[in-house]
Symmetry: C2
Subunit: 239 residues, 2 copies
Amino acid sequence: MLLDRGMVFMSDTRTNAGLDNISTFCKMSIWEEPGERVITLLSAGNLATTQAAVSLLNERMKAPEERAPSVMAAASMFQVAQIVADTLREVIALHDEAGQRADSAFHATLLLGGQIKGSAQRLFLIYPEGNFIEAAEDTPFFQIGEIKYGRPILVRAFDAGMSFEEAMRLLVVSFDSTIKANLTVGPPMDYQFVEVDACRTATRGRIEEDDPYFQTLSNGWGDALKHALDRLPVFDAQD
Amino acid sequence: MLLDRGMVFMSDTRTNAGLDNISTFCKMSIWEEPGERVITLLSAGNLATTQAAVSLLNERMKAPEERAPSVMAAASMFQVAQIVADTLREVIALHDEAGQRADSAFHATLLLGGQIKGSAQRLFLIYPEGNFIEAAEDTPFFQIGEIKYGRPILVRAFDAGMSFEEAMRLLVVSFDSTIKANLTVGPPMDYQFVEVDACRTATRGRIEEDDPYFQTLSNGWGDALKHALDRLPVFDAQD
C-alpha cells in the first residue's frame, strides 16, 4: 500500500500443489542500493513461474555485459515495471509453448513497488499477460492472490495518513481474515516498510504463527468484530 | 443458516450477463403448505439454469399424474434434496449436451432448506453435479455464489443462539461487505425466517437499497470496523 509516509508490503509464505502438498516459500524479493533505489517484488500464482522470473532478473544483474536490461540499472520505476513484466511474460510463454497445457497453470501475478532517487514512490500490479497498472490516489493499494476475504476491511479502513504501525495492524487483520477462511494462505508473513525519499528499507521482518502480536490481533479481532456488530441496531421486521 | 430457533435465508437479486447487462431477479423460491411443510430454495449461478430447474419443479407439482416426484409430496427433506438435485443435474446436462460449450457456463449451485412436519429442519447445499451436502452442528450455515468477501464476519460472529433479528443484522453486514467490493452482488435482498416446528414462513420480505435499516448498517459498519480496529494494539517492530 502507498501511504503518505511511504510504502508497506506484506506477503504470506504459503504455497501449495494441492492440499496434500503445502510448503513455505518467501514471496517477497527486495533489490536495494541504499539511498539510490529500493525495489520490492511480491508474487502470487505458480511458484515455478515466479521463482524463474526472479532468478532471471537476478541473473541479469550479475552479468552486466548481457544486453538484457537490469532492474538495478533502469532509469525509472516505469522501466523497472516493463523489465519485470517482460520477464514474467517470457517465462509464462516458455512453459505454455512447451505444450504443457493446463488452465492458467503457469500464470502468476506480481506486485512491484519502489523508488529511484529523484522520482516518487510508485506501485504496480503486473498481470501474467505482461501488462500492468499503477496505483494512484483513488486506488492506493493492491492485493494479489487470494484477495477477497481480506478486501472488505481494507476498503473500509484504509487511510493514506496512517502510520506504518497502524498500516501493519490493518494488514495483519486483513491477512488473518483470509487465513481463517482459506488454507491457501498461511503464516508466517513477511513485511517491509519503505519511507518516502529514503530509497532504502526502513524495517523488514517476518511474523511467525506464534508471534504474540499476531496472536493478540487474531484473537482480539474476533471479539472486536462481535463488539462492533453489537453496536449496530438489530433488525426489526416492522420498520 | 440453521439457528436454535429456526432457519434464516437471505439472497440478493443481482444477475448479470456481463457488466453491461445487469438485472434484478428474485433468487428465492418458497413452496409451502403451512403447518405441514415449508421448503425454501436459493440459487446462484446461471439464471437460465436455475429458472428452468425451478420451473420444472413447479410443473411437476401442477401435474400430479406425472411419474416424476414432487417436492410437495416427498416424504422427507432428504428426498426433496434428491429431487431438486436430480432436476438441476438434468437441466445442466441438457444444455451441455446441446453442444453449447463454455467453461461451467450452465452451472448453478442451490441452497435448499426446510422442514416437513414430524422431522427436523434441514439445510442442504446442492452442487451442479447433482450431489449435495447437509449443514450440521459444526457447519450450521452455507453460502453460495460470491461467498468470500462476506465469509470472515460470518465465521467470526455466527452463533446458533442468535435471535432472528440478530441473524438479520449479521447477514446484512455480510452481504454489505460483498456489495461494497463486487458488482455481481447487489440489493435488494430477499429474506425469510422459518421457526422450528412451525412448518410455515414466519416472516419474509425484501430490503431495498434505500431501506433505512440497510443504510444504517451499511454506513454504521464502516465506522464500527474502524472503531474495532482502533481497539487493537498497533504494531511495534521492537516487540
